[in-house]
Amino acid sequence: MPKGIFPEGILPKGFGFWSLAFLVALFMPLVVGGIGFISDSALLMVYLGINLMWILVLGTAGIYSFATLAIVGASGYAAAYLSVRHGLSWPLMLVIGLLVGAGLGVLIAVPAIRLRGIYFALFTFGLAELFRSYTTVTDALGGAPGLYGAGTFVPADKIGTETGALIGYYGAALLVVASLVVYRLVDGGRLGLLLRTARESEPFAKALGVDVVRARLTVFVVSSGMLGLIGALQVCLYRGISPSAFRFDTLLLLFAMIVVGGLASARGVVIGTVVLFFISQHYLDAGPMRFVAAAVIMLAVTLLTTHGLAGVPAQIRAWRDRRAASSATSLSLDQPLHGLAKERS
């Protein structure tokens, strides 16, 4: 039974899926067009980048961190503040985003060493709310309306046009490619192996001589740095930021995307993000009922699949193997007629 479209061993695993995804990402905005669609696609790219970095922590390292949006937003705020108040140019904004993100990553990772599982989740859940209320009440950060007028990589004469939106989209898409590379390097490399060992059994990892604290700190800093970069890029896209960057619903939506797609695989993240993004945006002409539809899909996916949508092929394969195994021993499922007919006659 071949496992994919292509015979195994000739092309790298997942080649078909990823080349299709890249082609769609490259040409879809050009083909469909329209500022609305292109800027929505750019937002989808931002979500994809965030989710890819999130599963490094949530999936590979197995740390229940919900600090994602807090890091993205805070780095975005740092970049926007320096740009609006001190005229920082956009390449420096991206650098600032990266640095602030990485710095926050260290700060958030320190309690992760002491707190476990659900308690760390609570701790990080609070962070986004903390930042949201802090930015709302701080006048220097623009208060509730937020900070606007930040620098951007879109040329000044193209802002507000379709070309400008396209430039923004490709900028965001480039960052997703970078996130994919980082994901692959960390998850597929030595660090990923160490983190998975520590996730499955911390005492065992320690007994092997794995420096668990250092491995977790590293993954936090790497993913948070990338998240900070994404935050700064988001500021470039929208030319500003407001406290709504820390919205709780967005965090839950992103989490739902990850889990629907299947935790701990880049492919799952892509599938889940695209599916839920499509439902949650205004493409479906179903009014408020589309949220009900999204909820039903989420419920169905959680009840029926063990590892999200991306795990469905493996689940079907396992089920088929089990069936084949049981029919081989009892002769009852695959060829019931032959077996029974002979016995009866």
């Binding site: 309690p111 599982g117 962070l127 009440v137 739902a256 009922m289 009900v292």
Partner: protein
């Protein structure tokens, strides 16, 4: 004195919500994110009763608790029972309750519309004063009812057969199975009781605020905070945490202003969790990570 009164009122309502979350997590190992929707659904149940059946205080409170309990059982039957013991159950139940929560809020919007509904006032024995603080009827009523029902639940936990089962489950799921505690029926009982408590909290809170589809959101977040701060599974810890959180809120909104509540609350959480990583109760040091 006002601060003390506010603290007591908030603490009693938070305890009602948080104990359900806490018991569900400790006993069954799943975090019920649909708790907020149960809260909202119970509020609507009480509102429907008040509109169509009777405005009597007992009827409204009982309707809220009953609808809450039914909603809890529904969550249990739809999400917990099919997934319990399956691969990846922990994250899938979390996800399933999150989905139910989306579903519930949006269905409530569809059915009842976004306008908030007001419940009739239940407690009508008038206001009185303690020191310089005026205690309104709804506040004193909330405290009295909450304390009475909570004592009942604690008594049931300590004395009844099912309560014993719940306590065994929170301490050791395998041991519970060995001594013949039925996990599934106990799960139904836990969720029914948590739902009823949330329903009661919903009716009590609706005396001050209104019933609306999103009414359950804040109680859910506060409930989660209190439950974890208290140490999941520990009833005394939860009540202590409820008092602590309520005091923090009352003090902050009096001296700093309402918009700073979340900030001070977060600092409080950080400090408590760094000193006691398993919460105040700290019961689950080894049982569950």
């Amino acid at each position: 004195m006002t601060i003390v009164v506010t603290t007591i009122v908030l603490a009693s309502i938070y305890s009602l919500v948080a104990i359900g979350i806490s018991l569900t997590w400790a006993g069954l190992g799943f975090l019920n994110l649909a708790h907020g929707v149960i809260f909202a659904v119970a509020g609507y149940g009480a509102w429907l009763t008040a509109e169509h059946l009777s405005e009597g205080p007992v009827a409204v409170i009982l309707a809220g608790m009953l609808v809450g309990a039914l909603a809890g059982v529904f969550v249990c039957v739809v999400v917990f029972l099919p997934l319990d013991g399956r691969p990846n159950a922990e994250i899938r139940t979390l996800m399933g309750t999150l989905a139910l929560s989306f579903l519930g809020v949006n269905l409530l919007q569809e059915i009842f519309g976004p306008q908030p509904k007001a419940l009739p006032s239940i407690f009508e024995w008038g206001n009185f004063e303690i020191g310089n603080a005026v205690v309104t009827a709804d506040r004193s009523g909330a405290v009295v009812t909450a304390v009475a029902v909570l004592s009942l639940v604690v008594f049931a936990l300590l004395r009844s057969r099912v309560g014993l089962g719940v306590r065994v489950l929170t301490q050791d799921p395998e041991g519970a199975a060995l001594v013949g505690v039925n996990r599934r029926t106990t799960a139904l009982a836990i969720l029914a009781v948590s739902g009823a408590l949330a329903g009661l909290a919903s009716v009590l809170l609706a005396q001050v605020f209104y019933v609306s589809p999103e009414a359950g959101y804040t109680p859910l977040v506060k409930g989660l905070i209190v439950a974890m701060l208290g140490g999941l599974g520990s009833v005394p810890g939860t009540i202590a945490a409820a008092v602590l959180v309520a005091a923090c809120e009352a003090l902050t909104s009096t001296y700093l202003g309402g918009q700073y509540v979340l900030i001070t609350l977060f600092v409080l959480i950080a400090v408590v969790l760094l000193i006691r990583p398993r919460g105040l109760g700290g019961l689950l040091e080894t049982a569950r990570a």
